[in-house]
């Protein structure tokens, strides 16, 4: 059986959730791997939400907000972008590929684009394979594995510098 990733989507109410709804009303088909959570603005999305989703079992997290300049709350999407960039810098330190978290701008009129983004992201995560972050965290944190932890940290540090 092939690996089917679980993906959590955080969608802003005004653009991306509406765009996802439009994909529905237009009956555009896309992979069923995503489960979306609606927030009012992408600026509401805290890095902890993403980490929580990964910890609970998500193999990938999609954040979607209004296009730059289109935010219903003027500039929440820019804040989302900054937090996203910051989070992506931190993820390798925990052995999580930053590609597992993706930010996309999806407008209320872009139902087809939403479907394409989900399909493409699902394929990408399927290629990356399962995350099982809780397994690895628990293993790393168990006493025996401390040298392994240090090694992992060094590696990710190198990766960041490169």
């Amino acid at each position: 059986m092939t690996f089917e990733p679980k993906i959590v989507g955080f969608l802003c109410n005004w653009c991306s959730y509406t765009g996802a709804d439009l994909a529905g009303t237009s009956r555009i088909k896309y992979s069923p791997n995503i489960r979306s959570i609606r927030v009012m603005c992408s600026g509401r999305i805290e890095p902890t939400f993403i980490v929580k989703a990964l910890y609970e079992g998500a193999d990938g997290v999609l954040i979607a907000g209004c296009h730059p300049g289109d935010c219903h709350y003027q500039e929440g999407n820019y804040k989302a972008l900054r937090r996203y960039r910051m989070l992506r810098m931190i993820l390798p330190g925990f052995g999580i590929e930053p590609e597992r978290v993706r930010l996309e701008w999806v407008a209320a009129s872009e139902g087809e684009r939403f479907a394409n983004v989900v399909d493409e992201f699902t394929d990408q995560i399927r290629d990356l394979g399962p995350l099982k972050v809780r397994d690895s965290l628990e293993r790393i944190l168990s006493e025996d594995a401390i040298p392994e932890l240090e090694e992992a940290m060094e590696e990710s540090g190198d990766a960041n510098e490169a």
Binding site: V8, A20, D21, A23, V39, E56, E75, G76, R83
Partner: protein
């Protein structure tokens, strides 16, 4: 006390039930923690569906409600109200979107049912942690802002003003009237456009309830439904509106040239005077000229040569020192009626606009045909002679995947109107090059039938090229239209004297900016997105902002007027209510946790979070907060919470999604 959650699963006919195994989902929901009853029904949004839920709440069987059906954007309000009628706080209800984001987008199979289960599990976990919220009521300012003074804005403003309500009408051009003021005749009745429009323009100018601001643009819109703060920039007109009486002495003497005096007939086309101080057209409202600072000899540089108009003006109305002015005011509702612009055909090189004389746009033809225009209503070639053969090319920029995919709706009809007018005024042959004739309105098909008897040549085919390269003697000195006549099944070359490009309607270049300021979105076609394409065509996703006319999509005059009246009646129903409930889901600061770092103060785009110097903590002004949650996500102490979108509620949703997996975490309610 234990929480008792009721879960209602909607079949939506076969929309959901066709893809999702309802029985399996019901069984699954029964097994979820804190769920005390699960019901499924064919249409939850129907009266009996709502009654089902309402009764269970009334009977005290449940104290949290989850409806798994369509998108919350569709029916959240419906079920919130049903919950409230049952006697429960409406915020103790939540939805699982198993239609738009599940059954409609996935194939028939176990994955779709699995996804529905996960979404319901997420909603149930969320419901467990929901808190009752109190809606706020705010008064509605009875004054309305209408943006745009074309026929849409005029109609909307007059409707409201006649009902005794105050209106501020803001128009970017020096006069109201919009595109309609440029037309001589309107299809299909061939009414004189000026005769039906001018009286309305005058009424707007004179109405005691309408404050008219022409040559002005929206600079900023703040606030929220019922209480918008608007800043308008009144551009410098250099003519004092209070003093000027529109006598015209100024432009008669003005040596400046706004429209070139040399050049061919088509280059010189103008409705009003061609001087630098000018009236846009003679029936302008307000009947006050404006100076074009770019070409005015006094204003264009520091030399200040000229000054003739100031000398001529008996009332000293000319003021060269006038500057742009910002005006602020408050309104309760906004109607956007900012109109359209016509497609610029110079990007379609093969049609030769900008390159070939005698290739003109529809709007140029309108001005040429207008009795008060520079040709006095005569249809002339660039050299001033009368054309003997004219071609009208349909769908320029419309129904074309390279430019605009949509049909502009008015071009077929105005092209027919041109044929009639040309036949009436000249002896020219008229060719219509069309893809399909779309004559959908009242009296439109009849007008088409009439034109079929007026000796107009109809050629079905999309024009490939307009060229001046002759291939034989008959084509010498002519414009040649190359077109595949799809009814004859052959390619034809038709020599003509003049070609009119029936340019489509597109979103005005400033529409996106206006939409942004009013907090509404534009679609991929550039027009503003309405609340619902069928059931909410005049409202938008932003409460208190309504649409009229071609800012929503291309429209003819009757549809525009109808929508404008619909928008004004929607506004009237808001005003008559006097008060409106606004979203209770705002941010809230826990003063015990707040460290007073003030980070949130800078994050809020609405300046709703202010620092309380006395208490040393930040405080949210609920009237200004729109509930975006940016401050919540940014608070380093976790002191701010977003009501209805609390961290723990979102965490619970995430946990719900994965509750089927081997890991399980359960967030606990407060206290």
């Amino acid at each position: 006390m234990a929480v008792r959650i009721g879960v209602y699963i909607c079949h939506c006919g076969t929309n959901i039930a066709g893809k999702v195994d309802i029985d399996e989902v019901v069984e699954f929901a029964r097994g979820l923690e804190n769920v005390s009853l699960v019901k499924d029904y064919k249409f939850m949004c129907s009266d009996p569906g709502q009654a089902l839920l309402q009764k269970d709440v009334e009977d005290g069987l449940i104290d949290r409600v989850v409806v798994a059906s369509c998108s919350p954007l569709m029916h959240e309000n419906t079920f919130r109200k049903a919950t409230e009628r049952g006697g429960l706080n409406p915020y103790l209800f939540t939805m699982a979107n198993i239609r738009e984001q599940c059954s409609w987008v996935h194939l028939d199979g176990a994955e779709t049912t699995d996804k529905a289960k996960d979404l319901i599990a997420a909603a149930v976990r969320r419901a467990f942690l929901l808190e009752p919220l109190t809606k706020r009521e705010v008064p509605i300012n009875p004054r309305t802002l209408v943006i745009g003074g074309g026929i849409a804005g005029i109609q909307a403003a007059l409707d409201l003003a006649e009902a005794g309500k105050q209106v501020v009408l803001v128009e970017r051009e020096p006069s109201i009237g919009g595109h309609m003021a440029k037309f001589d005749k309107t299809f299909p009745t061939l009414d004189c456009s000026a005769c039906i429009l001018t009286p309305r323009m005058v009424s707007v100018g004179q109405h005691p309830n309408i404050e008219l601001m022409t040559y002005s643009e929206i600079e900023e819109v703040g606030g929220y439904v019922g209480n918008f703060n608007v800043t308008v920039r009144k551009k410098a007109r250099y003519v004092d509106e209070q003093l000027c009486n529109g006598c015209g002495a100024c432009w008669e003497k003005c040596p400046g040239t706004r429209v070139p005096r040399k050049g061919n007939v088509h280059e010189k086309l103008s409705l009003g005077p061609t001087t630098s101080i000018y009236m846009p057209f003679m029936q302008a409202v307000p009947a006050i000229p404006v100076i074009d600072a770019q070409t005015c000899l006094y204003l264009k540089d520091d030399q200040h040569k000229c000054g003739l108009c100031a000398k001529e003006c008996e009332r000293d109305a000319i003021n060269y020192d006038m500057e742009d002015e910002s005006v602020e005011f408050e309104v309760g509702n906004i109607i956007i009626a900012s109109g359209f612009q016509t497609f610029d055909p110079s990007v379609i090189k093969r049609y030769g606009y900008d390159r070939l004389d005698n290739v003109i746009t529809a709007l140029q033809f309108e001005i040429m045909n207008c009795a008060s225009g520079s040709t006095g209503g005569k249809i002339q070639k660039a050299d001033g002679s009368e054309p003997e053969a004219i071609g009208i090319v349909h769908c320029v920029g419309s129904r074309d995947e390279n430019y605009h995919e949509y049909c502009s709706r008015v071009c077929c009809m105005y092209s027919l109107k041109y044929s009639h007018l040309i036949k009436e005024k000249t002896n020219a042959e008229v060719y219509q090059f069309y893809i399909d004739m779309r004559c959908f309105g009242k009296g439109y098909e009849e007008f088409y039938d009439r034109l079929l008897t007026e000796d107009v040549r109809f050629v079905r085919g999309k024009v490939a090229e307009v060229t001046d390269v002759a291939m034989n003697e008959a084509e010498e000195g002519k414009l040649i239209v190359r077109v595949e006549d799809t009814l004859l099944g052959s390619v034809r070359r038709i020599p003509l004297d003049m070609v009119i490009l029936s340019t489509g309607l597109e979103a005005h270049h400033s529409l996106k900016d206006v939409a942004n300021k009013c907090n509404v979105s534009v679609g991929s076609d550039g027009f503003i997105i309405e609340k619902h394409p069928k059931l909410g065509p005049v409202a938008t996703a932003t409460d208190g902002v309504f649409l009229a006319g071609a800012c929503q999509s291309p429209k003819d005059i009757p549809d525009t007027v109808a929508q404008a009246s619909a928008a004004s009646s929607a506004v009237l129903s808001m005003i008559t209510r006097e008060k409106i409930e606004i979203e209770a889901a705002t941010a809230e600061v826990n003063e015990d946790k707040c460290s007073g770092c003030k980070l949130c103060n800078t994050l809020c785009p609405y300046l709703a979070v202010k620092f309380d110097e006395e208490k040393g903590v930040s405080v949210v002004n609920e009237a200004l907060c729109k509930g975006c949650g940016t401050c919540v996500a940014g608070c380093p102490s976790g002191a701010i919470s977003a009501k209805h979108f609390e961290d723990r509620q979102i965490f619970a949703e995430i946990e719900g999604i994965f509750s089927g997996l081997e890991y399980k975490t359960v967030s606990k309610p407060k206290g």
